[in-house]
């Protein structure tokens, strides 16, 4: 890109020029406002960096003058720290952004990138042109994934073509765009550069005619029709166009552009993320060798938090998950040290995960799929805890897991399983009954799990298969019994079955609204989240339906004929059995009085009509999670009471 820098302070100018050159930009400088104005008018630039405090013509007037003449190029102002009036008047004068002196060079470069991108949306990172691909962040071209080794000039030349794919560039224009004024190469230089560029392309397998000679005019990139269109993103692009009612519609090619931009940004920021993972690795090693410092732990905690928040946005949902688990282990030195091995395993898995391509199109592909609004409920991956000391087997399962869409954690004995379970609750547990490095029997753990985590289904997977083992496992709440050896297919099928059963017990939402279309909409919105809706249009049947279906959440409209939602809410709250049932009230009214009334009668939350999908889903799920915690607790209590009357059996380790 060609940038004009208007700055009177030579030291500042030199620093900026150096870093811009390092980014392969071409820079012209002017020390005076008048000179800058002349240059801007005479040459074609992609961006102007303009100091406000110039000796002759000040930057703001200059900016105003250029804009008055219809000058479109983005202008970035450099202003003095104390002068907020400069900033306001600068922006009013038509500048696009400003940076306060003294500034960080990195930041200046980031702003410039952002402005250049805004100027030309096609410039959004990673531009694919058939098999040719430009990564402006890395300043690299690839052809069919082969890196093109280009000289700076060759790069600039190809960039110019790719950025302006249909434009024909004469040799004169190319000279003007790519060479500065103090260089005076002849037009034959261009011919030579085009020739060498074609050779590089040819070496990478491209047709030399990719850069076409337009007789008598100049050069251009071969018309895009001659390239196969990139199909990698096509399944992605038709998904975002169908948005729900009140929202924005987006055209396919824009979505495609955005996806390309996200992928390019991933490439650009990947190194930064890996550096954060490295800090986590260091912490793991330090913990292992008792060299952990408070500073390092603090830094790691921050990095893990950042990773958890960011990776999913780049399409690495699994990365966010792992980072979240890591963050939890980093809560204190004690938690970390009690789970060193697990920590290192998690960090290693995270590292490997980052080497995979982010799956932005898979993760976010369908509108009907839950989106990652809510971090815990949105998982499509199943979390499987393998408690088994058979290394070969656990490795086999772990490898297959990626295809099955499982996230697998492995514990080689009950003790490490407990540590893992204290940090994170899996969707299903595969439990062996005997362990080589532990005298503890798997059944002891099973008993504990049944008491403490009754919601997690446990599948017994063992070489032991006597009738007494089976009976005991079933009595202790094991959901399935799978005898070794079993094929991977058998394992997968059994786990899937168990999971499906478990999901059938997922939450039920009762919806009361006299408008059938609302009932239908809500049913539709909640279904992809595994939530069953019980629609009710007639409030008079309310009590019967409530009592027979025992919902986990109640959603009620305020305005209904005969009985209104507020009254119903009061009735529900008056019955001790339903005192804790989460209630969400729907209303088109947003005034403070209505809200106050809603909360006074004991509703838990309030959802505004017209219903907006993400909001409704988040609020319902929030409520369910809270009530499930209560229910789990109640179940545990009930189990503890019932089992207290049964004498404890003893279990010898059977080998």
């Amino acid at each position: 890109m060609k940038i004009l820098l208007i700055e009177d302070d030579e030291a500042v100018a030199t620093t900026i020029v150096e870093s811009l050159l390092a980014q392969r930009h071409l820079v012209n400088t002017a020390g005076k406002g008048e000179t800058g104005l002349e240059l801007a008018k005479a040459y074609e630039y992609d961006l102007i960096v303009l100091d406000v405090g110039l000796p002759d013509l000040d930057g703001i007037s200059l900016c105003r003058e250029l804009r008055a003449q219809g000058y479109q190029v983005p202008i970035l102002l450099l202003t003095a720290y104390d002068s907020s009036s400069d900033r306001v008047s600068g922006l009013d004068a038509g500048a696009d952004d400003y940076l306060v002196k003294p500034f960080d060079l990195e930041e200046l470069l980031a702003r410039i990138r952002a402005l250049l991108r805004r100027k030309n949306q096609a410039l959004s990172p990673m531009i694919t042109y058939g098999a040719l691909r430009l990564d402006p962040g890395a300043k690299e071209f690839t052809y069919n994934n082969t890196l093109l080794r280009l000289t700076p000039k060759e790069y600039q030349l190809l960039e110019l073509f790719v950025m302006n794919p249909r434009r024909v560039f004469s040799r004169g224009v190319i000279l003007d765009r790519l060479w500065s004024m103090d260089e005076f190469p002849g037009e034959e230089t261009i011919t030579a550069h085009i020739k060498s560029l074609r050779q590089r392309l040819k070496a990478a397998g491209a047709q030399p005619s990719l850069i076409e000679t337009v007789y008598g005019l100049g050069y251009r990139l071969q018309s895009p029709e001659k390239f196969e269109s990139s199909s990698a993103l096509s399944n992605r692009s038709d998904t975002v166009t169908a948005l729900t009612a009140s929202t924005v519609t987006v055209s396919e090619d824009r979505t495609q552009q955005a996806v390309i931009a996200i992928q390019a940004l991933w490439q650009k920021f990947k190194a930064g993320f890996l550096a954060q993972v490295k800090v986590l690795e260091e912490v793991g090693i330090a913990a292992d060798t008792n060299q952990l410092t408070t500073e390092l732990l603090y830094k790691a905690k921050q990095d893990a938090h950042k990773l958890a928040g960011s990776l999913g946005t780049f399409g690495h949902d699994e990365g966010s998950r792992l980072a979240r688990d890591i963050e939890i282990l980093l809560q204190s030195e004690t938690t970390l040290c009690s789970a060193k091995t697990q920590f290192l395993e998690l960090v290693q898995t995270l590292h490997q995960e980052l080497d995979n391509q982010p799956s932005i199109q898979l993760n976010f592909s369908q509108d009907t799929q839950p989106n990652p609004l809510h971090t815990d409920s949105a998982r499509t991956k199943h979390h499987v805890l393998l408690i088994d000391d058979d290394v070969t087997l656990t490795q086999q399962i772990s490898q297959a897991a990626t295809h099955w869409h499982w996230h697998v954690q492995v514990a080689s004995n009950p003790t490490s399983a407990r540590t893992l379970l204290a940090q994170h609750h899996p969707d299903v547990i595969l439990l062996d009954l005997t362990f080589s490095d532990s005298t503890e029997d798997g059944l002891t753990l099973l008993r504990q799990l049944a008491q403490q985590m009754p919601m997690i289904p446990v599948l017994i997977f063992t070489g032991r298969g006597s009738l007494s083992d089976r009976i005991e496992a079933a009595q202790l709440g094991g959901r399935a019994f799978l005898q070794k050896p079993a094929s991977l297919e058998q394992i997968f099928n059994t786990v899937t079955q168990v999971l499906e059963q478990a999901q059938k017990n997922e939450a039920k939402v009762m919806v009361v609204d006299d408008d059938p279309s609302i009932l239908e909409t809500i049913g539709h919105l909640l279904a992809p989240w595994g939530l069953d809706t019980i629609p009710l249009a007639d409030p008079e049947q309310f009590w019967e339906v409530l009592a027979t279906t025992c919902p986990d959440v109640l959603i009620m409209d305020i305005e209904m004929p005969k009985i209104n939602g507020i009254q119903l809410c009061q009735v529900v709250r008056n019955d001790p059995q339903w005192a804790k049932l989460p209630i969400l009230i729907l209303s088109a009214h947003t005034d403070a009085e209505t809200r106050r009334q809603v909360f006074t009668v004991g509703a838990d939350d309030y959802v505004q009509k017209p219903i907006v999908e993400p909001e409704l889903v988040v609020r319902v799920i929030n409520r369910i999670e809270r009530s499930q915690i209560h229910r789990q607790f109640a179940k545990r209590l009930a189990y503890a009471q019932s089992s207290a009357s049964i004498p404890e059996k003893t279990h010898e380790a059977k080998t």
Partner: protein, 121 residues
């Protein structure tokens, strides 16, 4: 149409939000990498909405929020919090700072605008 100020100390998040909102919807996006910068830019640009990361070094999101609410110009600008916290914030906290809504991190950048519009129709 919409003008959005993104406040996040992570450049990656800044850029992904900017790219997606600009490319997909043509919104204008301003960036701030710190609380101080956020205050400054909020005042100068007066965006339609501020997306504010809760956990930033030095001046955190809540301090920034408090200061935004004290400024005569900035107090009226709706704020949506970006948060990667494990536990969602409670109603009281949202009301205390007059927060318009929350967007959980990680978010789907392709659907970010949709989420913003859902919170601020």
């Amino acid at each position: 149409m919409k003008r959005v100020l993104v406040v996040d100390d992570e450049e990656g998040i800044q850029e992904i939000v900017q790219s997606c909102l600009e490319i997909l919807h043509g919104w204008e996006v301003y960036l701030a990498g710190s609380g101080m910068e956020a205050l400054d830019k909020a005042e100068v640009y007066q965006p339609d909405v501020i997306l504010l990361d809760v956990s930033m070094p030095h001046v955190d999101g809540f301090t920034t929020l408090q200061q935004l609410r004290e400024g005569s110009i900035t107090r009226r600008i709706p704020v949506i919090l970006l948060t990667a916290k494990v536990h969602p914030l409670e109603h009281e906290e949202l009301e205390k700072f007059n927060i318009s809504g929350l967007i959980a991190k990680p978010f789907d950048p392709l659907k970010l605008a949709e989420q913003i519009v859902a919170i601020l129709p």
